[in-house]
Symmetry: C2
Subunit: 409 residues, 2 copies
Amino acid sequence: MKTAHTFQIMNAISDTVDIKLDIEGAADYLNMSQSKIKRLLDRKILLQVWYEGWSRDRSQQFFQRFFRFDKSVSKIEQGSVLCQRNGSFELIRGFPKIQRAMLLGPALENHFSKIKTVAVEEKMNGYNVRVADIGGRIAAFTRGGLICPYSTDRAQNLLKRDFFDQHPDLVLCGEMVGPDNPYVPKDIYDVESLDFFVFDIRHKNNGKPYLLHERRKLANEYGLNQVTFFGEFSLDDAPDEITRIIRKLGKVQHEGVVIKDPQMKIAPIKYTCSQSNCADLQHAFKFYNDVGRDYFFSRVVREGFQSVEWNESEAELQKRCLQLGESILRPMIESIKQVKDGTRIADNVQIRVRDLGIVSIYQEYLRRLSVDTIFSEPESIGDEYLVKIKKINQSTNDKTESMCKGELW
Amino acid sequence: MKTAHTFQIMNAISDTVDIKLDIEGAADYLNMSQSKIKRLLDRKILLQVWYEGWSRDRSQQFFQRFFRFDKSVSKIEQGSVLCQRNGSFELIRGFPKIQRAMLLGPALENHFSKIKTVAVEEKMNGYNVRVADIGGRIAAFTRGGLICPYSTDRAQNLLKRDFFDQHPDLVLCGEMVGPDNPYVPKDIYDVESLDFFVFDIRHKNNGKPYLLHERRKLANEYGLNQVTFFGEFSLDDAPDEITRIIRKLGKVQHEGVVIKDPQMKIAPIKYTCSQSNCADLQHAFKFYNDVGRDYFFSRVVREGFQSVEWNESEAELQKRCLQLGESILRPMIESIKQVKDGTRIADNVQIRVRDLGIVSIYQEYLRRLSVDTIFSEPESIGDEYLVKIKKINQSTNDKTESMCKGELW
């Protein structure tokens, strides 16, 4: 899921102090002119990303330098990361944006007109990371191409080395899901802490994806968690089948589906449940002044299209209207009341780590992303530590407080 | 009321072909340097506005040139208009933005702490125009400083010359209200076609306002329509009194109130009814892709604050949620269905004129504002003509159509 803060996180940390990109080598590797590389650096489209954790890592010297593409450049997607190590290069391609069907039936017919069947997998509600082996270490990249130290730590714990030892050239694309998720905490899945669910496997450098069934087979061989596969349907059956799946997923508050060409030649499309839109709105309106206006708008519009496509009765429509209104007003009212009563509102999330060193690294990471946080003392939980984090939504707090003091909008 | 299209209209027509501003004279008059005036012209902050109607006017040669301030400059408000005529100048000051109370009680207490009583007048739901006599002709200026030919024509019909003959230095600020209103048509008032309701009288040049009671007296003497005066209340009584008024106004779908310092030393503030927010949303979501995201957002947030201030019961809150959801979804769903069935959605408005010449001038005015319209044939109505206008909301039509064709968002 795209969280309310994704945009911020995608456009964040750039440690430009220590640029040591081998411009000649990078130009050669990327098949670009050196002047273009220089221009990308000057214009801060190609930005250095430095993973603090690794430099402190006792077990290994830090030889890598990472440079992320903050915008798409030629055929290199936004969020792609160029990894430079001992004079050689690797490129972790940005994960392509998946477009959304507003009216499922027409979208399927139009988008997949050249193929006979589509495969349907679950779109889980967590955050998208790409996990790869870089010089013998597993790293987890966010959508924007940052190395999230918490996700990296979790990926290192969750994924055994054997997959990467045998496939150092592959990138696992998946969703980090569960309650110990500092971006989109959800307890709607059967996940105790945080798990990684693969939905794509791609090659480094060219970004070429595995065919769907081969990918599922490969992930299965290594015992990797995968997103649920709902089946492969003929284009005729797909609208009804997917609607049935969506209604079912909605009932358990799950997010939706991604519909794919099994051959991975046509880009996948996504379609989501009303309940997920409303849950997004509920969360966003708690922090009404911190979240982008487009975030609200897009979710509201989806409701309109789904209602039309489902040809809803007056009673169903009324239920949808009430649900929408409640998703917007109740959390906002709750926040206003809290601030009025002198309580600061905050987004309460948590992380679970094995090594307490990760906590301070993650704290520094969020600080650099300008996320205002309060970390609680770690609590022991089995052989791990749980750390509660309050993310302070300053703008909503400030705005609400000023309104309560009688300032004008 | 700020309509969904106000912003567009405020930032519109500038006929820069024929700039003949006497820079030396203007600099002298405005007490600015000539280089500053030149800079304002270069940066298109000071823009020529030319009222097409007058040049075609058989009864009078066109001697005026108008220049509007597209942004605030020094102490000159956005929307101010500099009128140049035969080498002399007049300045019609922009109408100051009125800030909004989100929580009425705290806002009254904080904002009016230095005075004992506040006066409450109705905020009518139409559009704000300033009417002034410029060289013997009555002209109506929009919020942004354009001369709206329709409003000008109506003002010339509605207002007798005697007020301006005796007070050529005064500007009538008021609301154009009624069903024959091409921006915000409303039949909630006892207005058959279009009327002008004064809410402020100000001096040209310095913009100094009349004291509230003197203004009401003066307007009364000339038989001018005025916005309803609800009374003058002590600061202690004001929150309850105004809440009572707002609840009453809401029941008849009226917009809200403006709360004023009777001495006009402290800036007025506005406060509106939930029903008016919802009516705005209903209209805006019909054209969901044409209207700015902030427009939706601001109205939704007002609902949250009012509910908290009114300390609503669970039943009242639920009613408000349903109303909000319905105001958003129902019009959007209606639009999607219409487009799906092959009908173009449009905003149906109408104007009523005495002189058919105004119609083509107004049509040209809207064309220059990039408002896409279809004008119907004039229908006779008494000694006037009614012209129906379809405003085509291209973006909503296009977006909805493309979704219906199965394109992706």
